[in-house]
């Protein structure tokens, strides 16, 4: 039974996503419980998979009992399980928050369709984390592209529609690049399974070097567009700021990172190490990540809109993850992968807190937030924790990942990148601290006339995430152990 568990997680979420519209027609009250229940099951199954690979080590699952090279293979290693836990835990908390928040952000008729898309997105991300097959990877990438555009355009607002078509076109561009890269790889190796391709590539590199180099470039561009690596980030600010708050939280917190993880899997498990000597692809990624870290922060500073500022901050933070990939070889990749979980926690918390502020007062402009901390102490308290973690104050989880990135840069004798990390942390401080200072100590210029009480159900996920940021800031050992096992390729 336990052997079928990996595929059952994906199947369960897919089945739930197709059941929800049916339930919507006959038993509308059941749509939300089904959504939440399936995500809880996914979370528990991920924890069980973690226990299982702790006992018996990483294992493979053959879909339909067909072994590779004929069938699709799922590979359950620490990296996959780590992503499974990140996705299912954050996804669960966000949808619990969304249960109340979505009622006022999107039309009631499309509410259960939103749950459908949300579950599809979760299933496809889990699929990307688990799969060991190039074409299967492409299919899951496309599902998640459509689903993530869908949860933006679910809000019948013209800004959302405009943002989602921009996102859809650029992400179709990325998918095209990925599919062409898959074709290039298939052309010379005759296989789609990661392990078979990895076995065939060192030999093929001598015969057809251009194919492999082009495929590598296309993979980096394709996944770079989708995960908003700096010069390819143009779709992100619109998409993440105009979407409903739960969508923003999930898109910024999870979706952009799963593509980075897919790239990690391809770069270090499929492509032979010799290719990094042939072309300096890691240096290119590193170079772009430095720009991402600086430019994201600088753009964020000049924004007036709270959610738009958070969206630009995501561009900077994805830069740290790519910096971890670019500084491969030391402890930096630990920091980069750790930052996936840390940033997922803090950015989804910040977006949810921003959503709470918008829910309660309708304020989006940063200048109007003066004195809001007195009105909403818990929300702004959580926001402050998230902001501290973004800056990297010790005692928050953001510090740990930046610490390991810096250690990794020193491992490779590249102190320049330590300076970059420090500088960008200061830049983060420049735009996060004024908000907190204004919120708690600012004199209220304009008393907020409209004020809605925040339901406890919306506040609890935010507080859980804030507690998580502090907990993993003081006690990162379980996460570090997991990540260190995940990167032993």
């Amino acid at each position: 039974m336990s052997l079928h568990l990996p595929v059952l997680i994906v199947v369960l979420l897919l089945a739930a996503s197709y059941t929800v519209p049916l339930l919507d027609r006959y038993r509308r009250g059941l749509t939300l419980p089904v959504t939440i229940l399936s995500l809880i099951t996914a979370f528990i199954s991920s924890l069980y998979l973690l226990y299982l690979i702790g006992v018996q080590g990483p294992f493979v699952y053959h879909l339909g009992g067909w072994p590779p090279p004929w069938g699709i293979e799922l590979y359950i290693d620490y990296l996959a399980v780590y992503m499974l836990i990140v996705i299912s835990s954050i996804g669960l908390l966000v949808i619990i928050y969304g249960a109340k928040d979505l009622l006022h952000e999107i039309n009631e008729e499309v509410l259960s369709w939103y749950y459908t898309l949300y579950l599809l997105l979760m299933a496809s991300m889990i699929g990307i984390a688990l799969t060991n097959d190039l074409f299967n990877l492409f299919v899951f990438v496309e599902i998640s592209a459509i689903a993530s555009c869908g949860i933006i355009s679910a809000k019948a607002d013209r800004r959302c529609i405009e943002a989602s078509i921009k996102y859809l076109i650029l992400s179709a561009l990325g998918s095209g690049c990925i599919l062409l890269a898959v074709a290039m790889i298939y052309m010379i190796t005759g296989n789609l399974n990661f392990d078979y391709v990895a076995a065939a590539l060192p030999e093929a590199l001598k015969l057809y070097p251009y194919n492999i180099v082009i495929a590598l470039g296309l993979f980096v561009v394709g996944f770079g567009v989708k995960s908003a690596l700096f010069p390819l980030h143009v779709w992100l600010p619109d998409a993440h700021s105009s979407a409903p708050s739960p969508s923003s939280a999930v898109l910024s917190g999870l979706v952009i990172k799963i593509y980075a993880v897919a790239l990690v899997k391809l770069l270090f498990r499929v492509f032979p190490p010799q290719i990094f000597e042939a072309i300096p692809i890691l240096d290119v990624i590193l170079f772009l990540s430095v720009f991402a870290v600086m430019a994201g922060s600088i753009f964020a500073m000049v924004q007036d809109d709270l959610k738009r500022m958070l969206a630009y901050s995501s561009i900077a933070q994805i830069g740290y993850i790519f910096m971890g990939i670019g500084l491969f070889g030391g402890r930096a990749l630990t920091g980069g992968l750790l930052h996936i979980f840390n940033h997922a926690m803090m950015k989804s918390m910040l977006f949810l807190a921003a959503g709470l502020i918008i829910y309660a007062t309708g304020i989006r402009n940063l200048k109007d937030l003066k004195g809001i901390g007195v009105r909403m102490p818990w929300t702004m308290g959580a926001f402050a924790v998230g902001a501290f973690s973004m800056v990297g104050i010790p005692g928050t989880s953001g510090f740990i990942s930046k610490w390991f990135l810096a250690l990794g840069a020193l491992d490779l004798n590249r102190p320049f990148y330590v300076a970059i990390i420090l500088l960008s942390s200061l830049l983060n401080g420049i735009y996060y601290f004024p908000i907190i200072i204004d919120a708690f100590f600012g004199t209220k210029v304009d008393p907020v006339s409209e004020f809605r009480d925040v339901p406890a159900l919306m506040l609890i996920p935010v507080l859980i995430l804030a507690a998580g940021v502090i907990f993993f800031g003081f006690y990162p050992k379980p996460l570090l152990d997991l990540v260190n096992k995940a990167i032993s390729f």
């Binding site: 299919v139 013209r158 179709a172 561009l173 095209g176 062409l180």
Partner: protein
Amino acid sequence: MEVITKLLNNYYYFAAMILFVIGFHTMLTHSNLIKKIIGMNIMDTSIFLFFVSIGYVRGGRAPIIQEGAGYLYVNPLPSALILTGIVVAVSVTAYALSLIVKLYAHYGTMDADEIAIIRAREER
């Protein structure tokens, strides 16, 4: 000369790449959203062409195996994969077109530049 011979021998790869670049260029540079979607379809189709031509064996037949006949068969796997690819491309196109319809209802234009101008005017 050698390059030209190689290109002529593999003209289907060459054609696929040219189509890919045309689609890519259309998608990025045209401001009309419908043209962008057409560009996307050209790009996707070029990849399908590329993928299918990988599996082609000169003189091969459809892979319906007849025992002892000794025919040459084409590789069926790329064609099977591309069926999935076509389905994905169709659904993305349908979704994109439906978004464009909604956008047209809101702005009265399908041109991305004009929409940007309208929005800038309203924000001022």
